[in-house]
């Protein structure tokens, strides 16, 4: 059986470039701003009380019925079991006996909230899987990077409300009923909760008027049962993870004179360090952008030898290992990504990349390079990175001295700019 065909592109704007006179992109940005207005990038939480508030606002703003020149009041709270709260919410329109004056409209929520029946967000994605929501650039003063914001699929929920009008005039019933039917003429209407449009369906209309009461109090009471097809978004479930970071590395620079002189380069070469975790299957890895000048490739901190352990074709983004790195190995690629392969120092002088190797023979810890060092990229002993000040010092313009003695026959590699 073949894979079912899926429609990948649904043209919701009828093939037009505009929506209600505005550009589609602008409309999309407007919608995104509405649902993320309280912070920068993530949507606001929508929980039960937000949905209840949305329902109260919907009824209060939509069903405005005027009776005898006065708008029928809507009790603007979901009444609960705390008795004093009931009175405190209707004291404004209570009589001298403490009873609510007729007419009035109240909203009663059924306490049980059922799993949602909204077909667009039903059980389609299992296990609260997190999905990409936004990629947000970050800058901490030293390194530029990005955070990946993920959220799980919202949970659908159905909330049932009884909108009840209690009055003593048939005309008030008619006015209210007309408004309800007009608003639900397409079966559903919408309320807006934190920028999201939440559908409300009119389920049933029933009359609970105690008509048969001959001796008792007479009034009209009608229930409009509505179901809100809501969904829950909980900010506690959001996930923020850092993506690949780009770092500025401050390099030591050689100055004039015979004595050691260190200074910080104001405009250092922008070096990208990209980290990938091996899956034990692939031998080719990509950094996602063109590598103009490749400095080092390391596996678990051990610098690999080009054309021996790996290969890289200039101008591409791929690193191809001769073997397959083990699952979980950390592959670090440091490179220069420029528009072309030209690098310049802070004075505008063009820089070249130098690579030199020496074999330690116990005679001398000092190594003289063939070019004048402008910036040292890395010093490695048998693939292990040596750190400046602790493990080596730069003497003069082209001489490096190790502070510790390596094992006889060790291979010392220098990568530098000149």
């Amino acid at each position: 059986m073949g894979i079912p065909k899926r429609k990948n592109m649904i043209n919701v704007y009828g093939g037009k470039d505009t929506y209600q006179g505005e550009g589609i992109l602008k409309r999309r940005e407007e919608l995104l701003d509405m649902i993320t207005k309280s912070d920068s990038f993530l949507p606001d939480s929508i929980l039960h009380d937000d949905l209840d508030r949305g329902m109260l606002d919907y009824v209060k703003n939509t069903f405005k019925v005027v009776s005898d020149g006065v708008q029928i009041p809507v009790i603007d709270k979901i009444l609960t079991i705390q008795r004093w709260g009931e009175f405190s919410n209707n004291w404004e329109f209570s009589d001298s006996d403490g009873n609510v004056k007729l007419p009035f409209i109240t909203i009663i929520r059924k306490p049980d909230v059922q799993y949602g029946t909204n077909p667009s967000i039903q059980r389609t994605i299992p296990d609260r899987h997190q999905f990409h929501y936004a990629t947000v650039p970050t800058w901490n003063g030293n390194s530029m990077g990005a955070d990946i914001y993920k959220i799980p699929q919202p949970i659908p929920c159905d909330i049932t409300y009884d909108i009840t009008i209690v009055c003593n005039k048939f005309r008030d019933l008619n006015k209210f009923n007309k408004l309800v039917l007009q608003n639900f003429s397409s079966k559903q209407d919408y309320t807006q909760v934190k920028g999201h449009y939440i559908p409300i369906i009119l389920d049933t209309i029933e009359d609970n008027t105690p008509m048969e009461t001959i001796d008792g109090r007479r009034f009209y009471m009608q229930n409009y049962k509505c179901i809100m097809l809501g969904f829950l978004i909980d900010s506690d479930e959001f996930e923020v993870k850092p993506a690949i970071n780009r770092s500025f590395i401050i390099n030591e620079s050689m100055g004039g004179g015979s004595s050691l002189n260190k200074k910080i380069i104001n405009k250092s070469v922008d070096i990208v360090i990209s980290t990938v975790i091996a899956d034990g299957i692939r031998s080719m890895f990509t950094v996602g952008e063109t590598i103009t000048v490749l400095f080092n490739v390391a596996i678990n901190g051990i610098v690999q030898q080009k054309d021996v352990h790996y290969s890289h074709l200039g101008g591409t983004s791929n690193i191809i290992f001769s073997g397959t790195p083990l699952q979980g190995d950390v592959i670090t690629v440091s490179y220069y990504k420029g528009k072309n392969n030209k690098m310049y120092d802070q004075h505008g002088n063009e820089l070249q990349l130098g690579r030199e190797s020496f074999i330690y023979n116990t005679l001398n810890l000092t190594f003289t390079l063939s070019e004048k060092v402008s910036s040292m990229i890395s010093v490695t002993t048998n693939g292990l990175v040596e750190y400046g000040d602790d493990n080596y010092i730069i003497i003069g313009k082209d001489t490096i001295e190790l502070t510790g003695e390596p094992v006889y026959g060790s291979k010392i590699d220098f990568v530098y700019l000149y």
Binding site: D52, T80, Q82, F87
Partner: protein, 170 residues
């Protein structure tokens, strides 16, 4: 301005003086002999900050006016032995409390008892129980609450026991 209607019914054999002296004698018995004291906590509905949607408050967040001690005839029903679900999760709590309080007494104290207010009543020296008013007995138009059909003289107030999570007098 409220119109005041003089009550002249039963005038040939009952008057305001008779009404007052009956109340005084009743109060002498109720306040002097029985001396059942209760504490009324009137909820300050304006100063109590409640929830925007549900009008609820959390524990110890109900603001109330200074408690007032008052006298009433107290009747408490037998405790109920119940369970939350099909015989499991048993709970046992006092029955409802019905108070009979003189309207004159409330007027003298300058207080009114309203639906949802709280009332404390001491079971023993160590145990003070709180009840919430479920029927404030404001309507006293029936013959029972009128002294010989002349004027209402007392209110019957029904209260249900509260949980500590709802109210505990602080």
């Amino acid at each position: 301005m409220n119109n005041k209607l003089p009550i002249t019914r039963l005038g040939k054999f009952f008057s305001q003086d008779d009404f007052d002296i009956n109340i005084q004698m009743g109060q002498e018995y109720l306040h002097g002999d029985l001396n059942m004291k209760l504490v009324l906590y009137r909820v300050d509905r304006q100063k109590t900050d409640n929830d925007d949607v549900y009008a609820e408050v959390g524990m110890d967040e109900i603001k109330f006016f200074p408690p007032v001690e008052f006298n009433a005839l107290v009747k408490i029903e037998e405790p109920k032995n119940s369970s939350y679900t099909k015989g499991l999760m048993r709970y046992n709590e006092p029955g409802n409390m019905t108070l009979s309080v003189y309207i004159t007494h409330l007027n003298e104290l300058g207080v009114d008892i309203r639906y949802g207010d709280y009332i404390g009543y001491a079971d023993s020296e160590e145990k003070l129980r709180y009840y919430t008013v479920t029927n404030d007995g404001r309507i006293t138009s029936d013959n029972k609450h009128k002294m010989f059909g002349y004027k209402p003289h007392y209110r019957s107030i029904v209260c249900a026991p509260t949980q500590e999570g709802e109210f505990r007098g602080v």
